[in-house]
Symmetry: C2
Subunit: 198 residues, 2 copies
């Protein structure tokens, strides 16, 4: 059984989920199907030209404090990227390649740590390249960079984003069970896993 | 020690919190300070003329399913009021009176059950009157109705709504600790109580 984990690499709450989903799912005997997609087109369809955390400053300030408290409780670091949200297209394409090749977990975790703990810019190709190099052996980063910008990967990521909208996904993280139930937010991870085990 | 519970009587997620906050807080040795306010002016300040669940239909559909699952798990009923959100001014004024007089808990719980389980309209004065009559002795409902429309109550509710905005409250339920930490959403109730006990 697999739980789909829909996320945009720029999402603060998806960071929280990425750092714990694989172990919690494994404890429940469930696998993780990593589903990178882009929130930009989803937000645009709702009439937003940026994150709601920027459009609604009180909500944005709350989000930062909420994430600070939760990351402190879980022993994770946090700083808000500048600019926020980070430009996540390149990272999403590499995550798409990683998902197909079976190394999404380590890549996405190291990417979120770089972005939200270390303050590095995931729009920067050199940053992404080093993340890949830390996971795969020498020589692979070039192949990954080529695969990430291939027509097939671009099409797959576009298709995933359209699929997210068709499902009614409006934010990240969204967890989708094999029977099509959707759970939005890191705070719904346990409920999504319970649903899978019903 | 008291945890402030900020809620609008039309809020679906505040229903979830109202049905469990007093017992969970009591278990932690904490009291509940019921803080009815109106989300309407808060939403208007964000450029919204109705609930975000109406403005963003995918989010609204998700909310209904989310609440259905949670209420089922907790043995509560749920149906979405029609119209949604309910017109909550009168209920908020009575809740304000109840808060000053010490019967906010039973009133707010019975009001939420009427609204979200039994499908009754909390804009209807007769519905509210019967809720009050079920809590207080005969003769009191008239006094409560008079107190609810007094200048003092109107001013207190208005002041609470302004205070909510000044605090940066942008949705309900919001839980506010004695040291000013804010937690938004029923799913943050446990975290708010943990924060109080730090």
């Amino acid at each position: 059984m697999q739980l789909e984990f829909w996320f945009d690499p720029a999402s603060t709450y998806a960071y929280l989920t990425a750092m714990r989903i694989e172990s919690l799912a494994a404890d429940a005997g469930i696998g993780v199907d990593w589903r990178p997609f882009l929130l930009g087109p989803v937000f645009q369809a709702q009439g937003w030209n940026t994150s709601p955390f920027n459009l609604y400053p009180a909500k944005g300030r709350y989000m930062v404090r909420d994430i600070e408290r939760i990351t402190a409780e879980r022993g994770l670091g946090f700083r808000l990227p500048d600019p926020f949200p980070a430009y996540s297209l390149h990272a999403a394409r590499i995550a798409t390649v990683a998902g197909e090749a079976g190394w999404a977990g380590p890549f996405v975790r190291s990417m979120f740590i770089a972005e939200f703990d270390e303050g590095r810019d995931i729009a920067d190709g050199a940053v992404l390249r080093n993340l890949v190099a830390a996971i795969l052996e020498a020589g692979h980063p070039d192949a990954v960079a080529a695969a990430a910008t291939s027509d097939a990967t671009k099409a797959l990521l576009r298709q995933r984003t359209e699929q997210a909208q068709a499902y009614g996904i409006f934010g990240a993280p969204t967890l989708r069970t094999p029977d099509g139930e959707m759970f939005w937010g890191d705070d719904r991870l346990e409920a999504a896993l319970r649903w899978c085990r019903r």
